[in-house]
């Protein structure tokens, strides 16, 4: 983005404070444009013909430094790139890294379909949503255009996920394109030998294309410049992912260099970057070691500027950390880290329902809440003000104490003695050491729950309702 203050954006807006964007004033809307929490098209007046020039000028000024490239069509479209900063705390990173898992054209049809479905359906619940993976990369291992086309057809038939067509042979790519052209696949890849033919394909079929220049940033930039000159900026850059040793260190620095140059305004290289952790499999024979190393390389390039990557291991122990490190890096750091302290009702609790204590750290709260509600347990869940710190750290750091718990209860207006039949509080297992103090402070019975809220259902079966003394 070429401007950085709301005032600079405001100059282009109609300044009528009409409120159609949902903001009270044009200045407030301008602030949202600068932090990219609103889109210029939400200003309906500026879309009118008479503001056309201002719209176009402002739109250009607001465009992200790194171009956005679109792969796929419809609901399953994958946007990549679009970043404006090198560090997430400076704004946030946009368009999380897209994970493509590979299939190849010498697979049995049955294995192929099974693998594609597995990739498509893989999911992991996390803070109110499911984490999923994004794409299928089809590798030509046979070198045969017909075989490739047959497998691409099968993939297109089986899944709506966006696809990457992988071959260095333009004939093979063309065969794949013929059967997937209406899915806007990403071509992989143009290199120093085939770039003319691959450029023709990208232009003819109007699809995005990857430029592959292993450890040669001059070549990478030359290709990007040439392709742009020929009429396409739907480019993805692959500077090569070398899996081990000094070559990997070099790869790491290539990613840093390309992204830094792009963010600093070198438009010729300001495209999304592709990593290929798949190459870990060229360095390790044992599948567990290969999976581990692939996950490690994927993590490095999820953190450092990879916008899309091709992976091989579909083991849960590879996919789960990959999904979580991506979520870690792409979570908007501006979003609140805490829920309001207080008493929350989960399900439809009655006077016989248990009263559970947790912290107001958003992550802890939502984890506990989902564990309870998904198991249909009715209860009162008490979010104590720990300044947004999780249970274990808050006990160690003094943010979760008996006094805090007592204060939380008093402020909520809930009366344990009259509003429950049991006068009992359940503390998280990680706060077990507070048991005596909480009993003394509140006069209530205190039970110790499990150390992980995933075990609350089992714990309830055994321990609730409490035995009458």
């Amino acid at each position: 983005m070429k401007i950085n203050s709301p005032l600079e954006a405001y100059k282009f807006l109609p300044a009528t404070n009409c409120g159609e964007c949902g903001e009270q004033t044009c200045m407030a809307f301008a602030a949202h444009l600068i932090d990219r929490s609103k889109d210029l098209t939400e200003c309906t007046p500026i879309l009118e013909e008479k503001f056309r020039k201002k719209y176009e000028e402002l739109d250009a000024l607001l465009a992200p430094e790194i171009r956005e490239v679109v792969i796929g069509v419809g609901d399953n479209v994958a946007n990549i790139g679009g970043d404006d900063v090198l560090y997430r705390h400076k704004l946030t990173f946009f368009n999380q890294t897209k994970f493509a898992y590979d299939v190849w054209d010498t697979m049995d049809e049955k294995d192929l379909i099974e693998r594609v479905k597995y990739i498509q359906d893989f999911k992991k619940f996390y803070v109110g949503n499911f984490l999923t993976v994004d794409m299928v990369a089809v590798r030509s291992t046979s070198g045969d255009p017909e075989k490739f086309a047959a497998v691409v057809s099968k993939v297109v038939e089986t899944t709506h996920l966006p696809i990457i067509l992988c071959s260095f042979d333009p004939e093979v790519l063309k065969a794949g394109l013929e059967v997937s052209k209406d899915r806007n696949p990403l071509l992989y890849a143009a290199n120093k030998d085939n770039w003319k033919e691959v450029a023709d394909l990208a232009l003819e079929y109007d699809v995005p294309v990857t430029l592959f220049a292993p450890n040669d940033l001059d070549l990478l930039k030359s290709m990007a410049k040439t392709f742009a000159e020929m009429g396409t900026e739907k480019l993805v850059l692959d500077p090569g992912t070398f899996p081990t040793g000094k070559q990997l260190r070099q790869t790491f620095n290539n990613f840093i260099k390309v992204r830094r140059a792009g963010i600093e305004g070198d438009r010729e290289i300001a495209y999304p970057i592709m990593a290929v952790p798949f190459t870990a499999w060229m360095a390790h024979d044992d599948p567990v070691s290969a999976s581990y190393w692939e996950t490690v390389v994927a993590s490095v390039f999820t953190i450092k500027y990879g916008d899309i990557m091709i992976l091989h291991s579909t083991e849960p122990y590879a996919m789960l950390p990959e999904l979580h490190i991506r979520d870690t890096i792409y979570t908007d750091p501006r979003k609140p880290v805490m829920v309001d302290p207080g008493m929350y009702e989960v399900g439809e609790p009655t006077a016989d329902s248990p009263v559970l204590v947790t912290t107001n750290f958003a992550l802890t709260y939502y984890t506990v809440e989902s564990d309870i509600s998904s198991n249909k347990i009715d209860c009162y869940l008490w979010a104590i003000d720990t300044e947004g710190i999780g249970v274990e750290a808050a006990v160690a750091g003094g943010q979760l104490t008996a006094a805090k718990i007592k204060k939380g209860i008093e402020e909520s207006g809930f009366n344990l003695q009259t509003d429950t039949t049991h006068n009992t509080i359940i503390l998280p297992g990680l706060a077990a050491r507070l048991q005596g103090d909480v009993e003394d402070e509140t006069g209530a019975n205190v039970m110790i729950g499990p150390a992980d809220s995933g075990r609350i259902p089992g714990w309830m079966e055994k321990n609730w309702p409490p035995q009458k003394k």
Binding site: H324, I389, G390, E392
Partner: protein, 439 residues
Amino acid sequence: MAKKMKLSQISDILQDLDVESLEGVTIEGDIELNISGGGGLNPALAYALGNEISQISLHMANIGRMLGFPAEQLFASAFGMAESPQALQTPPRIQELIDSRFEVSKVDNWKNKIQEVTLGATSADGGSRKSTVTLGGENALPYYFDAEMPHRNYVTVDVFDMPIGMAKAVKGNYEDVINDPAEWAKKVVRDFNADMVTIHLISTDPLIKDTPAKEAAKVVEDVLQAVDVPIVIGGSGNPEKDPGVLEKAAEVAEGERVLLASASLNLDYERIAKAAIDHGHVVLSWTQLEINAQKELNRKLMKQCNVPRDSIIMDPTTAALGYGLDYAYTNMERIRLAGLMGDDELTFPMSSGTTNAWGAREAWMVSSPLKQDSDWGPREYRGPIWEIVTGLALSLAGNDMFMMMHPTSVQVLKEITQTLYGSIETEEIDITNWIGAEV
């Protein structure tokens, strides 16, 4: 006399003209172009004709240039083109890559160097360690080309002074030594490639065993006897008890330059600082995911307690992957960037309690508690990678030292951090044709 030709004939005649064949060519008389059809040409035909004529004019212009006439200037002024005869010769399809050099500058505002801090002391310096570990000294984010990173990352492996609850995958490695901290320490150095050992005196917690400080100090002596690497001494985390425990431990470890873990704002940090100064140790300055609290504690340690700059390491808190690592990562990255850009209250090496990763249910649970989840697979593989990715993320944020537990995690984290650091030599791998790789 005027001679009539078809356009294509002219083009055919002229297309072979170049420098070599120019000699002997004479152009005589007038050339008349007879374009029939007038204004009624269809667009495709007009385009084709235009192409032919332009090609001919290009040949003509080249002849003109051969004869010494600057034809390109004529074209440039006629068509309003600013420069370059190449533009004229460029066909719709580019035949050669446009040459371009990639350039990027180094970061110019990383002017401040991170403080170097040495742990452990050899006999030459009044200790009994065989080797020492130096952290810090960076002038850039880790592994960046902007400036050499002077020291690699180090791993210190956790040892406890009593049996504790551990994830099954971790416990399997320690069952034989779980009642003997000295043997435990030996094992992690000998078998698991630990650079250092952390002895956690958790039994001193009044709510656990309330082991007296003096008795706990004996365990420290045992560990110092058992291994010759630098050590970290941790309390139980009880803010009332820890200062006394760490004072006693600091006393028995006199001269060994241990790391005392830790000073924090919620306990009497002055006592910990004094113990470090009196006995020649280093203080771990621990705060909870809050950069301003970190600045405050560091400032108090330096200004109020007079701890020398080369005797402070920070622990800004490690949250597990999926459980707040986003805050922990960004907190560390901000601390390191602030340090590099000149904030003298934050220019210290950092340490991470990476073992915290094992708190994540994904690391230790047999399977997902939620039915909708895809299968989580075997936990013995999930746990170590959880610890690795947690540590790896923080290494990229600037963390120098890792407190860890699982041997596989230690091995892989060392492998990747030292690869990025540049000290791992491997056979080069040719990825040119990776697409066709058999895997």
